[in-house]
């Protein structure tokens, strides 16, 4: 075990998988000479050279498509977006091509590609740099969507994503790159895609969160402990395929659930989990499932408005109090 930052866990996963498989290469804006806009690819150019570390022009649609074509023709690209807010420009290649080529050609090709980069907000960056796209990608058949919250999960899941034979969306966060955690250094340390983890056991209420919101929920759980509310905290880690079984078995124990999601409310991860709990654990619920999400409003710049906009531990505590009838 070693203590690594989130960005170092990304880097280590990339390094080990590039070392292991000659067909793995990294492509994106500022990934090589600049060493990564967030230093997640630091040193990889020195080690692997310009053939396998490819700086691209600012052409998200073009290089995402080159990645898909290269994957069809036998390579395993890791395509970095400086943020998933920019990947919207590449949506045709991700949504119309990466996910559909295999199906519409009757299985004649495979597309082992990873699209990775930070997702969601990162402080006062304004409306176009602050959107969480995980539930949007999860909507489309053919994509696996991962959004880890801690360095060990980053490494184990990114390695699994690179070894996966199908397209994977791997989402990080600008604000978590400096976060530290213990990470196994085994080069075959893999975490299976599609498995949630109960990160805090508790008996009063299930709180489900992922990515940056896991940390918000964790903070809330620590506060609630002081009020004798025992939170069971589940980090789904993979948005799709969603490990609903882990959530359901927890809800059957606690009978209450709050879903925290850094997305807008309509049709998001929180909405989906809420429906599944209703379908699979209706008789176990002592309160309607509550959700904490962004409002149905764009990200504002002003500090006070931004703080109002982003889900906080306070919002989570309020939701927990609502479902436990303690408000």
């Amino acid at each position: 075990m070693a203590e690594l930052q989130f960005r170092q866990a990304v880097r280590e996963a990339l390094d080990e998988e590039m070392e292991r498989d000659e067909n793995v290469f990294v492509m994106g804006e500022e990934v090589a000479e600049y060493n990564g806009a967030y230093k997640a690819t630091e040193g990889l150019l020195d080690k692997y050279g310009f053939r396998r570390m490819i700086d691209t022009p600012i052409s998200e649609l073009g290089f995402a498509g080159i990645g898909v074509g290269a994957a069809m023709n036998g390579l395993r690209p890791v395509v970095e977006f400086m943020t998933f807010n920019f990947a919207v420009l590449a949506a045709d290649q991700i949504i119309n091509h990466a996910t559909k080529v295999r199906y519409m050609l009757g299985g004649q090709v495979k597309v082992p590609i990873v699209f990775r980069g930070p997702n969601g907000s990162a402080g006062q960056l304004g409306a176009t740099h602050s959107v969480a796209y995980d539930s949007m990608y999860a909507h489309f058949p053919g994509l696996k969507v991962i959004q880890p919250s801690e360095p060990a999960d980053v490494k184990g899941l990114l390695k699994s994503a690179i070894r996966d034979d199908d397209p994977v969306i791997f989402m990080e966060s600008e604000q978590m790159y400096g976060l530290k955690g213990e990470v196994p250094d085994d080069e075959d340390f893999l975490i299976p895609i599609g498995k949630a983890k109960v990160k805090r056991e508790g008996s009063d209420v299930t709180v489900v969160a992922h990515g940056k919101m896991y940390h918000v929920a964790k903070q809330a759980a620590a506060q609630l402990e002081k009020d004798d509310v025992d939170v069971e905290l589940i980090d789904i880690r993979t948005v799709k395929p969603l490990d609903i079984e882990t959530i359901i078995s927890s809800v059957k124990k606690t009978n209450r659930c709050v879903v925290v999601d850094e997305a807008h409310p309509f049709g998001g991860v929180a909405a989906e989990i809420g429906y599944l709990i209703h379908r699979d654990a209706f008789d176990y619920l002592d309160a309607p499932v509550a959700r904490v999400t962004l409002p149905d409003v764009n990200a504002p710049f002003a500090k006070n408005l931004f703080d109002l906009w982003l889900p906080s531990a306070k919002n989570v505590i309020e939701a927990v109090k609502t479902v436990t009838y303690n408000s």
């Binding site: 074509g69 295999r102 004649q108």
Partner: protein, 365 residues
């Protein structure tokens, strides 16, 4: 200041202009090659083989059109009729392991890269025996083992895939080149320009080949494009050429020369091949945007008739033997229809197949 009485006009007006009896031709064909088949290194048998392939593409589609009109299968049907010299000349010029990718007007490309008439027709009918197991239909013919990566349905969407295939070939240093075919309408998709820049910058062995058939759906090329299409290459310092796509020998000659050069220097090309689409954009197209006279002008230089005349002039085969070949092609197409009609549709389980490589894939429910 514009006269306030005048209404603003954006897209240039095409058909309404007074032609004084002159036929307005949307694409101007450059001169075909003057070289003989022998000078091009071809044999008489090669000419006959080219003819057989072009005739197969033509008859396959004419019959497919009839079956579509009879309501035998659904979906879109974009016909390649009139453009057969391009697929045929290209495939004869390239190595068999060079990669080809195209848009949705793809039946000819499939047939020339080894999709059998039975597999092609079965794909149109949505049967398991189809080249894409009936999962793709008309727009998604493919034969990946023969390096035909398929037909793609989003205009311009396959262009970066072609560049990516070329990227992988360069990465693996395997000597293969990639030919990415697109229509004149796709020239205006931004992605073409993104990847032309990257291909030139990264020296990818990729040919961008525009099949300029005169119309982007129903909008003629002079109504959708400013300047000459081929000149788009200039902005990227890319090598370029314009070819006559109604002459298979011209296509063969230049594509072979270019392929050899690309194999040598790994620099991309931008190629505009001028041709003409005889049929509408798809089957539902009333074709009010062009005149019958214009179509007839191009049918006078039909690529299949042209090759037939050349074959007889050069005594490559007797008339009787060529008729036998034609009859044989016709029979194959009819057999393919019978085969497709009687073939099994996919089993319901096939709905969930081919989504993932992983066998035990999870589907959200």
């Amino acid at each position: 200041m514009a006269n306030k009485q005048e209404e603003a006009v954006f897209t240039p007006i095409g058909l309404n202009k007074n032609k004084n009896g002159k036929i307005d031709k949307t694409v101007k064909l450059p001169e075909p090659t003057k070289k003989t088949y022998k000078q091009l290194g071809l044999t008489k048998q090669n000419l006959v083989d080219m003819y057989e392939q072009m005739y197969l593409q033509r008859r396959f589609e004419e019959r497919a059109m009839q079956m579509y009109q009879k309501g035998k299968f659904g979906g879109f049907l974009h016909l390649y009729i009139g453009q057969e010299a391009i697929s045929t000349g290209t495939v004869f010029a390239l190595n068999d392991n060079d990669d080809i990718i195209t848009a949705y007007r793809d039946h000819g490309w499939g047939l020339v890269r080894g999709v059998t008439p039975k597999a092609g027709m079965s794909e149109l009918y949505g049967k398991t025996a189809g080249c894409s197991k009936g999962k793709g239909g008309s727009m998604h013919f493919a034969n990946v083992k023969n390096h035909f990566w398929g037909g793609f349905g989003i205009v311009g969407g396959h262009i970066p895939l072609g560049s990516g295939i070329a990227f992988a070939n360069k990465y693996k240093d395997n000597g293969r080149i990639t030919a990415c075919f697109l229509g004149d309408g796709a020239v205006h998709q931004g992605v073409l320009h993104e990847v032309m820049n990257m291909c030139q910058l990264w020296k990818l062995p990729c040919l961008f080949v525009v099949e300029n058939n005169g119309y982007a759906m129903g909008t003629s090329v002079e109504r959708h494009s400013v300047g000459e299409i081929v000149d788009r290459a200039d902005a990227y310092g890319m090598k370029k050429v314009v070819l006559n796509g109604m002459d298979v020998l011209t296509v063969y000659e230049k594509m072979k020369e270019i392929a050899e050069e690309v194999r040598e220097d790994s620099m991309p090309w931008f190629i505009e091949i001028r041709t003409y689409r005889y049929r509408g954009h798809s089957m539902s197209d009333p074709q009010k945007y062009r005149t019958k006279e214009e179509l007839e002008e191009y049918q006078k230089v039909d690529p299949i008739e042209r090759l037939k005349t050349y074959i007889f002039e050069n005594k490559a085969i007797s008339q009787k033997k060529l008729e036998e070949i034609e009859e044989n092609v016709e029979n194959k197409v009819l057999e393919a229809i019978e085969f497709a009609e009687n073939a099994d549709p996919p089993e319901p389980e096939a709905l969930y197949e081919d989504m993932f490589v992983e066998e035990e894939a999870t589907f959200h429910k």
